[in-house]
């Protein structure tokens, strides 16, 4: 194992923020409580929502599959405790849009009875092929637990790329959040085992762990768990936000820049979060699907900040009650950290696979919103931007809704880390403008796609109508012609006889040929003229007969 000597590359920009982490790390991770109601959203990941495979009234057991993955980029959902499905309907979910989404609601029976899984856990995962490992990880419903929620089985597929380095993201750079820190302190061996499983699935040559240098206990625990293995490098990176941003961490550890708008896989690197590693370990070695996660409950509105195992689907309300947070004191609830999280409107929303932190701010700590002043282009925002954007220019164009220019200035490379907001002397909510510009551009693209499709559909319809009209006319004509002919022949034998006679005369005429005279000693030119005349005559006759 090589540790302290490993070179750390300095990513650009970033900020030293007040950490507020120690308030929630003084007690061990608490065991899960069983709420009376579980609200399990069908979409707790990036990709298509899962499809329910249970019906209202069904009894379910803990770990039972209740919704199956829909397509490749999707993840199944399991019941996180035993009970009865009482509804499948739209409920509040933790999402920045504050919209409701389809959820499976389970009324728990309190017994927490675990279902017997078909597969058994394997302590020796080496016997499984990569695709078998991926299948099990997929079946366990594992998604990136760091916050993005991308289905993990996809990120464990090299897909033609050679994976040089598997990076375990243990940076946890957002203030307040400590769930990964506590997991590492308490479950380091399982996390390292999970890392090994992922390494095998990816055929990765070696592993690196990037951990911020403020997590001394977690670092020590991981070091012990790694033991004497030489192919896992554990590297301490400076505690500077956003050290845990995927691209920033990759750069810090390897000095490589993951391509803009591309995947790190393209440069032979895959990055996974510690929580995900633990979930992978549990899925493979214990055959346990993802039904719970560790959540940091912290902030000035929580009497005793702590980390707690939470059954997925547990409403935030229950957690607040559990921690004796006085609802009259609560000024604001955020999901995630103060830099990249979002404000939660409804406390009935549940904890999902990607909920790493519930940050509750006491109402006395809520600052009055400040009015922003015009941008003075001081460029402080550009200095702290970890992606090397020019937020002052992006802001200018986003504000005037010049979306072409915004994209020229690489809006879509913005990782929304929020550093620019924090340093802005004019207090402009820059990230808010960038999110607005992004969603507007996406909307415009969707609209354009829609209108393109609509136009195409319209054109096809016109064409179809035209064709139907034409076909109708043709049918009509044929029918008319048929009506004209058929009765003549069938119904009136006399007429038919006459027609037949006329036909015979015609045929006779056409076969009759005039014997050409004076054909001796014709020059080739004369002969060819005669031939042409004959041909014309024959053709005329044929045309006449045919008409």
């Amino acid at each position: 194992m090589t540790t302290s000597l490993h070179q750390v590359y300095d990513f650009r920009g970033g900020l030293y923020l007040d950490e507020h982490k120690s308030i929630s790390t003084s007690t061990p991770i608490e065991a899960a409580l069983i709420p009376s109601i579980l609200v399990l959203p069908l979409s707790q990941h990036i990709g298509a929502a899962a499809k329910p495979c249970v019906a209202v009234g069904d009894s379910v057991l803990k770990g039972q599959l209740i919704a199956t993955a829909d397509g490749r980029v999707s993840a199944p959902v399991h019941a996180s405790s035993s009970g009865e499905v009482i509804a499948i309907e739209k409920r509040h979910v933790p999402h920045p849009s504050q919209l409701k989404a389809e959820c499976i609601i389970i009324k728990t029976d309190g017994r927490d009875t675990v279902i017997e899984q078909e597969q058994t856990g394997l302590s020796n995962y080496h016997s499984l092929r990569s695709d078998e490992l991926r299948q099990r990880i997929h079946d366990a419903g594992i998604v990136g637990l760091g916050g993005a929620g991308f289905p993990s089985h996809i990120k464990l597929k090299p897909g033609g790329h050679h994976v040089e380095t598997l990076i375990l993201n243990a940076a946890e750079c957002e203030p307040y959040i400590t769930c990964d820190d506590m997991l590492m302190r308490e479950h380091a061996p399982a996390i390292i085992n999970g890392l090994r499983i992922m390494q095998q699935a990816l055929h990765a040559k070696h592993c690196m762990i990037g951990i911020e240098d403020n997590k001394i206990e977690a670092f020590t625990a991981l070091q012990e768990a790694i033991g004497n293995d030489t192919d896992i490098d554990i590297v301490r990176v400076p505690t500077r936000y956003p050290a845990g941003g995927e691209r920033q961490l990759i750069y810090s550890l390897t000095g490589k820049e993951a391509p803009s708008q591309g995947r790190p896989l393209e440069i032979g690197i895959v990055c996974h979060n510690v929580g995900t590693a633990l979930a992978v370990n549990d899925a493979i070695t214990k055959a346990e699907p993802l039904v719970s996660r560790v959540v940091t409950l912290t902030g000035s509105g929580i009497p005793q900040p702590r980390n707690i195992h939470v059954l997925l689907g547990t409403p935030v309300d229950d957690l607040l009650k559990h921690c004796h947070a006085d609802s009259d004191d609560i000024g604001r609830i955020m999901i995630g950290g103060p830099m990249m999280g979002f404000v939660l409107d409804s406390t009935t929303a549940p904890v999902t696979k990607t909920t790493n932190c519930v940050l509750v701010t006491h109402k006395r700590d809520i600052q009055k919103p400040e009015t922003s002043l015009p941008c003075i282009r001081c460029g402080d925002c550009a200095d702290v931007c970890p992606v090397n954007l020019l937020p002052q220019q992006l802001y200018w164009y986003a504000r005037s809704q010049e979306f072409d220019h915004v994209q020229d200035y690489n809006l879509f490379d913005c990782i929304e880390c929020g550093c620019c907001d924090v340093v802005c002397p004019s207090r402009i909510p820059l990230v808010q403008y960038f999110r607005f510009a992004k969603t507007t551009i996406w909307q415009q693209e969707r609209d354009k796609e829609k209108s393109d499709k609509a136009r195409e559909r319209h054109e096809l319809r016109l064409e179809r109508l035209e064709r139907e009209k034409r076909e109708k006319r043709e049918r009509h004509n044929r029918k008319k012609a048929a009506l004209k002919k058929e009765p003549d022949q069938k119904d009136d034998p006399k007429k038919a006889a006459i027609l037949a006679a006329m036909k015979r005369v015609k045929e006779k005429k056409s076969t009759e040929s005039v014997t050409p005279g004076n054909t001796d000693d014709l020059s080739s030119e004369q002969q060819s003229k005669i031939d042409a005349a004959d041909a014309r005559r024959a053709k005329n006759k044929k045309d006449k007969n045919g008409a």
Partner: protein
């Protein structure tokens, strides 16, 4: 209720920035007052009053929050910079007119702070220089060069009483003296030791002026160290000015003034750290700021050397203000992750 992130307390503010720029002006201004008289302070006071009144009226007319906007301090800073740029013995109406022009035409008509394409103080300065060349080019001599230190009464008279006694306090500036002499065919080495002008020159540049410049340099270094101004602009500007003037000085020291005189003689230090660094009208990309500084350095040198005015900084700044948007366009930094494409 705020619903967006990030939500972390921040102490950055525009008024704080302006306040610190103001602090940084203290050493240079103090030296200026000490060596050239109370007139400097009178001009600053006049400018500040004019700026606040003018901006207040315009804001009221534009139906914008008056006190809140005035509190950002930008109007006051413009006023102080303009007051430091003009002669301390100029009549009172010069600074009042200039400041009002700077605030109204340089700033508010464009939409106020953040929207002005030109440095308002320099716009006011150039308007005055073109309209009132006599008043704008009469400078005081350092006290040490005067036969007797002017009284407070003289200082007031010069400004408020139609320039009464102005001849007892005025004197040629070093750059002016050299320019006038060169025009008459007297080369620089002769001017430096001539009986009438030789005493103007100190160890670095002009007597008195060199100390003021060092004061502004000190303040500038404070701003650089605290990260309140971008280092690229002053560094590029002073380096360009230094290199260009050195080259020409080495070619012919009788026709071209020394780099020291360039850097510490005129408004170079004040300009480099306090005027060219005005973020609103300057280039904003890191690389662009270097080009912007180089441009100001070149133009300042060119105008001082071959132009009609002894001091070219104001024109240089305004010309580069015009170029700033184009510079920004062509100097966008490479985004993280795109360098390998």
């Amino acid at each position: 209720m705020i619903t967006h992130t990030p939500q972390v307390p921040s102490s950055a503010s525009v008024s704080k920035l302006m306040l610190h720029v103001g602090y940084a002006l203290i050493p240079g201004t103090a030296a200026y007052v000490w060596l050239f008289g109370i007139g400097v302070l009178i001009q600053i006071l006049l400018a500040c009053i004019t700026a606040v009144v003018t901006e207040g009226i315009i804001l009221a007319l534009r139906k914008r929050p008056v006190t809140q906007t005035l509190a950002d301090g930008s109007a006051l800073l413009t006023a102080v910079l303009l007051a430091l740029a003009i002669s301390p013995i100029a009549p009172w109406w010069i600074i009042v007119l200039g400041t009002a022009f700077a605030i109204i035409f340089g700033k508010q008509l464009y939409g106020g702070i953040g929207y002005n394409p030109f440095n308002p103080a320099m716009l006011g300065y150039v308007m005055l220089l073109i309209s009132f060349p006599l008043e704008m080019t009469r400078w005081p001599a350092a006290f040490s060069l005067l036969e007797q230190t002017p009284t407070l009464q003289t200082s007031f008279d010069v400004i408020f009483n139609a320039g009464l006694g102005v001849d007892t306090v005025s004197g040629a500036t070093p750059l002016d003296a050299i320019k006038t002499q060169l025009a008459q065919g007297v080369d620089i080495s002769a001017t430096l030791i001539s009986p009438s002008y030789g005493e103007l020159f100190g160890s670095l540049a002009g007597v008195g002026w060199e100390v003021v410049s060092l004061g502004f340099l000190l303040g500038g270094i404070y701003l650089l160290l605290t990260g309140r101004i971008a280092w690229q602009i002053p560094a590029a500007m002073l380096a360009t000015l230094g290199v260009l003037s050195s080259i020409f000085y080495l070619i012919d020291s009788t026709q071209y003034i020394s780099p020291l005189l360039h850097l510490f003689g005129g408004a170079s230090m004040l300009g480099a750290f306090f005027i060219a660094t005005d973020p609103v009208s300057a280039a904003t990309t890191p690389r662009g700021r270097i080009y912007y500084g180089i441009g100001i350095g070149i133009l300042t040198f060119v105008i001082r050397t071959w132009g009609g005015y002894p001091e070219g900084l104001a024109f240089a700044v305004l010309l580069m203000n015009m170029a700033a948007p184009t510079i920004d366009h062509y100097t966008r930094p490479v985004v993280f992750g795109q360098s390998r494409k």
